[in-house]
Amino acid sequence: MIRTLVCLLAAAAVAALAVLPPALALMPDEILEDPALEARARALSKDLRCVVCQNESIDSSNADIARQMRLVVRERLVEGDNDQQVLDYLQARYGDYVLMKPPIKPETYLLWYGPAVVLVLGGLGAAVYLWRRPRAGAAPEPLSAEERARLRRLLDEEGA
């Protein structure tokens, strides 16, 4: 059943393509006059996911809904929202998945702190490994005659 639904949705997308003029990512008519505001809009667009696309931000998506979302981002900015308010606005309507950078909350602690935990534990492990193992003596023992001969042979072999 889900499969049929996906197919039909795909059909809907195709139908939309055939009738509406296809939009290709950001269009010239969307761009704001104010360069500072436009720069903020671009940056925000990269942090918002196009809801019908696969892992694509609304900045690079060609989907109709992505264009709609880009327009809303600009509309909110023009009305004086700050960046966080714009993100909140869309998050309230679409949910967490609209944010390319998931919010930090108990469900995502593992995501956000996991890498740091891996680094710290790995670092501790490496430190224990490095410091608690037998060290090379401060003054290496002198080589025996036999070892010196082998060393010379090896160096010759390696051509160094």
């Binding site: 892992n55 967490d96 950078k101 998931p102 090379a136």
Partner: protein, 664 residues
């Protein structure tokens, strides 16, 4: 008839793979030389049979045999010959066959070039390779048979996805698979070593060339994929942190760690179980990549048409391969004892640091890639983990890594003189600092991270050169002496320096294109000009041109530099492939070596003479491709090292006590 021949050859290959698995493994277990020796011929036979099978499918594509369902779905009689051939692996079934072919070629290569391996080790390596072969051949035969016929045959095919009809993407999968599958050799060596219960310097020497080869190919595969995205997707991006990209990047990162830790095993006889674990995990991540792309588990722009049944089959294979090998690891690895005395500040210490950072980076990407899936599985709701997350977590891990990379090759084994090394690197440090400050000044308020990264790139590049200069005693002895030292220096030393320098170059490219890209999106009417950076673009107009299997709207731009000299004519296209019913954009790229000029044509105005035009100035992007090539060159040069090519000395000949090994 020929497709049936291919199908039959693949069935035979499955049988031969079974023989290749059972006979040598049992033989090695019982110490039966004749059984152990069976692995080599079986691997060769398997390769020949798979080659016949692959040849049969290729033939069906070349002659456009539309009685084969796979050809119907992915080819068309009007398609250019190049894409008929590359269409063989432009789909799920065919690409599985390519995967198997490459696996069989690697197996045959071990059989042919592994004459200096101890018989039991060779038998076990080939046996494990055979086992992987069984998994993939049976998967293909039972769930994804490319030789299935269709009746009645249609008059013509449905054409290959036009995005894939492209030279970059045509050769991206073979390179990628050469990398993925190449790591299967390191994996097989690791399992064989666990079965043997012995890991030593000789083992590490055998593993290194295979890992190096796989790494070189994977570097090329990833670079080709990025290059394709850069010029085909039409907005000059080259990396998206998409699950499928991550799937190829994780084995690369961990394979890089493996490459370095294997050096420690080889030279210092320590870090053994860690290296074994890396070998297992690197190939496991390659398998995971295959799983992600084909199971439809994660949403991705690149995914093949997904099928949960296939997904379950691959999952079962993953459980057997990864679960089995990790169980073996848990049982056997604790008994592997490492020797090798060294101080924390030493080459060994530097390589441990390298491994720590690379492994953490891999874990970070793994967590980020799988998190949406796992959270959903636990009922935690839906989240998207996108590029901002990866940029925030991955980049900070890379900065210290690049710093340590500069130091590493100059550190002595066992016990390094850090102040001494730093004083030898003062030029590199000075230039790095200067490059960072200059970047900060030139970009005038741009991202600080970009300046930091440029400084580190300069540092790494010069440190790699300093390393070579130190080793040949440049300017400190007469030039003739330097020359003879340079000629005598092992190739792997050049390989290291090249690979490190290549990364430095590539980093400059990454920074340039992410931090200083300039973009102009506008509606232009023919005759109009636009200034972008120091270049003036004139839009000359659009004409309709037919292609072999598509219709094109080709725009023409002339580009002049600041003095009004004509420097390029650029012709971006919009294409429609009527059979596949898909439009594509073909960007026009003119490289100035220090930067690319990039033009894309969009749609015509609905009522007016204007066209939507996207112009980009992409600074330093060519460095990205150059850097990747230099890295690959480093891999190849290192691979040609006499010590690796000749192979390791026989196990008996090299039981050097760790304490007497010379420091390099």
């Amino acid at each position: 008839m020929i497709p049936e021949l291919g199908h039959f050859a693949l069935i035979l290959a499955l049988l031969v793979a079974t023989v290749q698995t059972l006979v040598p493994l049992v033989g090695a277990h019982r110490g039966n030389p004749a059984w152990m020796a069976a692995g080599g011929p079986a691997a060769l036979a398997q390769m020949l049979l798979v080659a016949v099978s692959f040849g049969a499918l290729t033939y069906a594509y070349v002659v456009s045999d539309f009685t084969v369902a796979n050809v119907v779905a992915n080819s068309h009689s009007l398609k250019p010959m190049l894409y008929k051939v590359t269409g063989v692996w432009g789909n799920h079934e065919g690409s599985m066959l390519l995967w198997i072919l490459i696996l069989a070629v690697f197996g045959a290569a071990v059989a042919l070039f592994g004459n200096n391996l101890p018989p039991s080790l060779k038998a076990r390596v080939l046996g494990i390779q055979g086992l992987i072969g069984i998994g993939f051949i049976s998967f293909t035969l039972f769930t994804s048979n490319p030789f299935e016929r269709i009746f009645p045959p249609p008059l013509d095919g449905q054409d290959l996805n036009p995005l894939l009809q492209d030279p970059g993407l045509a050769f991206h999968p073979p390179m990628l698979y050469l990398g993925y599958v190449g790591f299967s050799v390191a994996f097989a060596f690791a399992i064989a070593a666990l079965l043997e219960g012995k890991v030593d310097a000789a083992w590490a020497r055998w593993v290194r060339p295979w890992t190096l080869a796989a790494w070189t190919f994977l570097t090329g595969g990833i670079a080709l994929g990025s290059w394709w995205a850069y010029y085909e997707l039409g907005w000059g991006g080259w990396w998206f942190w998409d699950p499928v990209e991550n799937a190829s990047f994780m084995p690369w990162l961990l394979g890089t760690a493996l490459l370095h830790s294997a050096i420690v095993v080889e030279k210092r006889d320590t870090l053994k179980s860690w290296t074994i674990l890396l070998a297992i995990l690197t190939f496991s991540l390659s398998l995971l990549g295959t799983f992600i792309v084909r199971s439809g588990l994660l949403t991705s722009v690149h995914a093949f048409a997904s099928d949960p049944d296939r997904g379950l089959y691959i999952l079962a294979m993953l459980v057997v391969a990864i679960g089995g090998s990790l169980t073996l690891f848990a049982v056997r690895a604790p008994s592997l004892k490492g020797g090798g005395l060294f101080q924390p500040i030493s080459r060994e210490g530097g390589l441990v640091m390298n491994n720590l950072l690379l492994a953490t980076a891999t874990a970070t990407i793994l967590i980020g890639t799988l998190y949406p899936l796992i959270l959903d599985a636990l009922g935690g709701g839906l989240v998207t983990v996108g590029p901002p997350f990866f940029n925030l977590t991955f980049v900070p891990l890379m900065l210290p890594l690049v710093f340590v990379m500069g130091l590493g090759p100059l550190l002595a084994w066992k016990r390094a003189d850090l102040p001494g090394v730093l004083s030898r690197l003062k030029v590199a440090a000075g230039v790095g600092l200067l490059a960072g400050l200059a970047t900060l000044y030139v970009q005038n308020g741009g991202p600080v991270l970009a300046a930091l990264a440029m400084g580190l790139a300069a540092w790494l590049f010069l440190a790699a050169l300093t390393d070579l200069a130190e080793k040949v005693k440049l300017f400190r002895t007469p030039l003739a002496d330097t020359w003879s030292r340079a000629r005598g220096l092992p190739r792997s030393q050049y390989g290291t320096a090249l690979a490190h320098a290549g990364l430095a170059i590539a980093i400059a490219g990454m920074v340039g294109s992410s931090a200083w890209k300039v973009e102009k999106i506008s509606v232009m009417v023919p005759g109009e000009t636009k200034q972008l950076s120091d270049y003036v673009f004139t839009f000359e107009g659009v004409e309709r041109l037919p292609g072999p299997n598509y219709m094109s709207q080709t725009a023409t731009f002339t580009v002049r530099d600041g003095d009004g000299r004509l420097i390029a004519t650029m012709t971006p296209e919009k294409r429609v492939y009527p059979v596949a019913g898909m439009p594509t954009t073909e960007a026009a790229i003119h490289t100035r070596w220090l930067a690319d000029l990039y033009a894309v044509i969009g749609d015509a105005e609905e009522n007016g003479p204007g066209w939507t035009v996207r112009l980009y100035y992409e600074p330093l992007v060519p460095f990205l491709w150059l850097g990747s090539l230099v890295m690959m060159l480093g891999g190849l040069v290192s691979l040609s090292d006499r010590r690796l090519r000749v192979g390791a000395p026989r196990r008996k000949a090299a039981p050097l006590g760790p304490a007497v090994q010379p420091a390099e």
